[in-house]
């Protein structure tokens, strides 16, 4: 088997939940520093695809490669656990509902994994927490618990938590969908900042304007397949597929 030359490569991804086929032969590549958006209606398989990349939802067929290493390779259970934990350390993930650890402060949320997995000292962890929380504008709330933060603030801490592992790739699954409208921009701002730093990102989103302004490429998914993909100005302005046009039209009406 040859190593793919792409930074992220998904080959013929197939996923079924029982009889329900959710991903149907999807192939996708992402280069280092690229930002790829995934749009599509509810249930089209966006989250499943994203979660297959760090094997949170293991594929039932196909391969995922990251930086020359196959993520979902066949190994004995014990070896696989070691391998996948290693891979996941390199991939940051941000969830719709934040999933911050409620019994830990912002600082502890950020430093827990690096302390456990990277063998850094308490002081190094402290510096790391300050650095990462400063980056997302949450330094002042470093000793707050999640319950004491707004949704937007929670999500920014969650991003800092992911960044503290120094990932090569960031996955965002509708990072702003659970937020009140007035809190969306503060999270988008952080993501834009990451884009400026050339972080490789795959972003599942319902926000077309944001996707259009930040992504190098956008994929439209429907019923488990990638219907159309291209640069945002092409995909959003001149979609070639009827299904894409339909989706965008409905979305525009919904937004009004």
């Amino acid at each position: 088997m040859t190593d793919p030359s792409h930074f992220v490569e998904i080959r013929h991804a197939q996923k079924s939940f029982g009889a329900l086929e959710v991903l149907k032969d999807i192939s996708l590549t992402v280069e280092r520093g690229q930002i790829v958006g995934i749009i599509g209606s509810s249930g089209s398989g966006k989250s499943t695809l994203l979660r297959a990349i760090n094997d949170l939802d293991p594929l039932t067929g196909g391969e995922v490669w990251l930086d020359g290493v196959q993520v979902n390779q066949k190994l004995s259970h014990r070896k696989y656990e070691k391998h996948i934990n290693q891979m996941r350390q390199q991939v940051g993930m941000v969830f719709q509902h934040f999933n911050l650890f409620p019994h830990m402060t912002a600082r502890e949320n950020v430093t827990m994994a690096p302390l456990m997995l990277k063998g850094i000292s308490k002081e190094e962890a402290n510096t790391l927490a300050k650095e990462q929380l400063d980056k997302v504008g949450m330094l002042e709330r470093i000793d707050y618990y999640p319950s004491q933060l707004s949704g937007g603030q929670k999500q920014r801490v969650a991003i800092a938590r992911a960044l503290a592992m120094k990932p090569k790739l960031m996955l965002f699954d509708e990072a702003t969908s659970a937020l009140d409208p007035e809190l969306v921009e503060e999270v988008n701002l952080v993501m834009r900042k990451l884009a400026e730093e050339h972080m490789t990102m795959i972003i599942v989103t319902h926000e077309m304007d944001f996707a259009a302004s930040v992504c190098d490429r956008v994929l439209f998914m429907d019923q488990g397949v990638v219907v159309e993909e291209g640069p945002p100005d092409v995909l959003f302005r001149n979609p070639t597929q009827p299904r894409t046009r339909e989706f965008l039209r409905k979305h525009l009406e919904g937004a009004k």
């Binding site: 934990n85 996941r88 650890f101 994994a113």
Partner: protein, 218 residues
């Protein structure tokens, strides 16, 4: 013979010593039941089938039989296979394991009701399942069941009187011994009751303190 509480000071040292034993045994058994409860819960939910079986036996034994019998079994029964425990140690183990099983039930339910996004977030960062349980899931589950565990610990305090049957001079047995000498059951049983009441209050205070301490962190 009327009531005469003036006799109490003469035997106060015996009663207080009994009190100390009760507090000591209750505390030690409570700690054992807490740690054991977490351990049993994690084993029941996540250990492989073969490892779960002996623990199911323990669970059945401690839930399905009288505590009295469990204490006899540990104190008198184990001697036969060469395990000769001091009575108070046998008492702590018996009480501790008995309530560990009850705590385990509570903790299991709590673990299952921790949002599964918590485990996912921890795994996404690269933690193994065991690490994620230890750092993320179990601490949250335990926090959620502090109040009912507190109730179990009050029950434990009351049941600690049972260790008198294997000869530990805890509060109830001490009171009994004093009564044997003074023929003043009313005074000394009341005295013992007052002691239990005070210990009870102290435990409730401790529980509130623990709760307040960790509820900030939710």
């Amino acid at each position: 013979m009327g009531l005469g509480f003036t006799i109490i000071p003469k035997y106060l040292d015996v009663i207080l010593l009994g009190c100390a034993w009760t507090i000591g045994i209750t505390l030690a058994a409570a700690i054992l039941s807490f740690i054991g409860g977490i351990l049993f819960a994690v084993i029941a939910l996540y250990a492989p089938w073969l490892i779960r079986q002996p623990f199911r036996l323990i669970e059945w034994l401690f839930m399905g039989t009288p505590l009295l019998l469990q204490l006899f079994l540990i104190y008198f029964g184990l001697v036969q296979i060469g395990i000769d425990l001091p009575a108070f140690v046998a008492g702590i183990i018996g009480l501790g394991l008995h309530f560990a099983v009850y705590n385990s039930e509570l903790i299991q339910t709590a673990i299952l009701s921790v949002d599964k996004g918590q485990m996912e977030a921890a795994r996404t960062l690269g933690l193994s399942r065991t690490e994620a349980l230890r750092k993320v899931v179990v601490p949250q589950a335990v926090r959620a069941v502090i109040p009912p565990i507190g109730n179990n610990m009050i029950a434990l305090l009351k049941d600690s009187a049972l260790v008198s049957v294997i000869g530990v001079s805890e509060l109830t047995l001490s009171a009994q011994r004093v009564i044997g000498r003074t023929y003043r059951p009313f005074e000394f049983y009341l005295m013992a009751a007052a002691c239990y009441y005070v210990i009870n209050l102290a435990m409730e205070w401790l529980q509130r303190k623990i709760e307040r301490r960790i509820s900030i962190s939710r």
